[in-house]
Symmetry: C2
């Protein structure tokens, strides 16, 4: 039996795609930057089918690339050339919400939006949210330990994952879906799979924790003299506002770009160097607490609090329109980095000169999640110097003790720079674990590890 | 150079203990159940010295047992016979509290109490608390992923650990102490070390997250018809009380034992089957919210809320005196298990008959942390049937989808039952990781893995 026959036998003829037209959407990531030809795209519908696919590939020595919603930004889920793409988008079952435990078991291919809707129908919510929610799958979010705008309150994806079922490289299945809040019986394999970018196993099901559904929101926009002021006031705001859910930074150049792109009015009578969007979400209306906290915090140049949904959307728009406004202005170099929060001001201050050195005339647009020291670095007009700009930015981040990938992962895109964030001893330890669990290197070769 | 010479050269003559009298306190755990002779006890004072010790042992093929405060309950940190005990109690430095980040870097041998005091002096607090705080080290708490009474609010030890420095089995050092809130650059080695019970590396330093210091407390004692009622009302209480920090269950037989041991008055005019201690801790006084929530929850048989510190201590005493009262009544079989929270009532209901079957006349005393489905199963008068009682209880727990070790770890004590909580595939994966990182099996042999 050939490999293709074995794959057809595992998932049914209709779900082994070999025609170039049918394969195409699985072979290129949505940034368009990464693509490669797949031997076939295989679409199993259950853990057992995934295991059968992996066993067939293992027997044939055939490399696999695991793909969820294909919304990644670092080329981690598209083939480099010749791999089988294992697409999990047919694994979409949602188990009944376990309200007393505030947990749910879902298939890895379920989209974030479908899990959110499912949780909300039971009076709960899911702790992670991000813009790709309609396409991104919870399996992919777990494999990349995705973040988003609510990390301040609920943590990243790893903090939501109470258990997982996965197929290892030899086709064996490990399953921990009991949702035990405490279980100290050996190595935390589930946590190891989170952020492993498909290189250690194929996540097929997840046990997720849910959070209370908070219907009352309040949003403020603060004007500040600089990033240092944002970092300085955040501990006091966190202390005063237990309902604080987001603290998002953007700067004057980004605001100007957004206003020009989207035709938005100025938020304040005069321009200011830095801005912070705050959102509180609670069981009770958090508006009064937010107004009071904003009134009492020192060092603001100006501030406004939105009291209705339309006003809240208008304030969020200044931050949320950044991505579109940047894309409309050109093809940006997009980097996602973090530093210890105390060094965020230095990063923001030094970046323009470092970028100018790497590419004269390039335009940085910066925004990010202050609480985690996470900055999204977008650079316009870098042209052919994109690689130089990336290198210069990532080296500065490493000098400041930071991470070259805060949310997006390493994928294929950042493999050359992994040594800036992880020591040789750490990479050796990671390599040892990879070799132990996938000795033939069949899962996502070329992703994450050099 | 002999191994002992190499060890003396690494840490200084005074810190290689070979005299039996000096070794003794390191060779037996505090339960008295586990002991063994050590070749020597070595007391390094820095990561570099730990690395030198591990390298010397690796060169000599000498097995090591890693020991913190020696407060473990499963024999995981005392020698079986012939190992070098690597004691970390001289690694006690506490770095300056990073208030904006709410983090601190400390040595692994620092006691929990010293870290708590250090955090409180800076206006913050540490998220884990438990009775052994004066002796237990934060390194040991991390290696065993310790829990305690605040897990409901802040999670177990793993949730506090933002970074670690560790010496691997070959003497190489991995160090991630930057305290980045988000860092997606590969496998989470720090999380893998949490709960690995010293079998994958020697944790020498930790970057810990800190939490707000909450000075206002309120405590309630609820009387309930059964454990099912406790499980049923908890989601509503959690929803109504964002400040909820503890929800501790005990039962009529335990209360009777405690009252008789400690001479305490009855909490209510008549006895009830089950009791729940609730504690709220907040920036503002949570008493009114607790009183209101207790008044509105359905199904209580009786309830009382303590409004001053003395009254709060009096209510907590009913729960906290369980351990001493049980020990005073005999030598108990002590098991620490958890099940999915929805199955906790069934576990509590079925345990007495299962224990009676295993050992007629044995007396179970049960208490636990409701939110995590975590039950501390103490069995008095089991005599020579202790092993049978353990076996019967752990098998019931496994039948209910539970964990044979909720907080304490596997150590040497529970190795024979590991297969009840972890599948063959999982144990094979754990074994592969162990072999990858410690091919000669030098770190804590006999602990955790069969």
């Amino acid at each position: 039996m050939t490999l293709l026959d074995a794959l057809r036998s595992a998932v049914g003829d209709a779900h082994v795609l070999t025609d170039a037209d049918l394969r195409a959407s699985y072979e290129t990531d949505w940034t368009g930057r990464f693509s490669g030809t797949a031997l076939a795209v295989v679409r199993p519908a259950s853990t057992a089918e995934v295991a059968a696919v992996v066993r067939a590939c293992a027997a044939a020595g055939q490399a696999l690339v695991v793909q969820g919603g294909n919304t990644g930004l670092v080329g981690g889920s598209v083939p480099a050339g010749g791999e089988v793409v294992l697409s999990l988008t047919r694994l979409t079952s949602l188990g009944a919400v376990d309200v007393p435990a505030a947990q749910v078991t879902v298939d890895a291919g379920a989209t974030l939006a479908s899990v959110q809707e499912h949780a909300r129908a039971a009076g709960l919510d899911f702790g992670v949210d991000l813009a790709a929610r309609e396409s991104a799958t919870v399996g992919g979010l777990t494999a990349t330990n995705a973040g988003g705008i609510r990390v301040l309150r609920y943590g990243s994806m790893r903090a939501q994952v109470m258990g997982a079922e996965a197929v290892l490289a030899d086709g064996s299945v490990v399953s921990r879906l009991g949702g035990l809040a405490k279980d100290n019986t050996g190595y935390d394999l589930v946590s190891l799979l989170c952020g492993s970018e498909g290189t250690l196993g194929v996540i097929t099901r997840l046990r997720l924790r849910l959070v209370p559904r908070l219907r009352s929101r309040a949003v403020a926009l603060l004007a500040l003299p600089d990033t240092a002021a944002a970092v300085q006031i955040l501990p006091e705001l966190r202390e005063r506002l237990p309902d604080l859910s987001a603290a998002e930074l953007f700067l004057a150049p980004g605001l100007a770009l957004v206003r020009s792109y989207a035709g938005l009015p100025a938020p304040f009578p005069v321009a200011h160097p830095a801005y912070l969007v705050l959102e509180c979400a609670g069981r009770a209306d958090p508006t009064d607490a937010l107004v009071e906290a904003v009134a009492e915090v020192d060092g603001l140049l100006d501030a406004t609090v939105a009291t209705d949904a339309a006003g809240q959307r208008a304030l969020w728009a200044y931050r949320e329109q950044h991505t579109e406004a940047i894309s409309a202005a050109g093809v940006p170099v997009k980097l996602d980095v973090s530093v210890p929060v105390g060094r965020l001001p230095e990063l923001v201050e030094r970046l323009p000169a470092v970028i100018e050195d790497a590419c004269a005339g390039a335009r940085p647009v910066l925004f990010g999640h202050v609480n985690e020291g996470n900055l999204h670095v977008n650079v316009l007009d870098a042209g052919e110097r994109a690689e130089d700009v990336s290198d210069a930015v990532l080296r500065l981040v490493a000098d400041l003790g930071g991470s070259i990938s805060s949310e997006h992962g390493v994928g294929r895109a950042k493999v050359p720079w992994l040594g800036l964030s992880r020591s040789g001893n750490e990479i050796a330890a990671m390599r040892a674990i990879k070799t132990a669990l996938d000795p033939a290197g069949l899962l996502n070769p070329g992703v994450l590890l050099p």
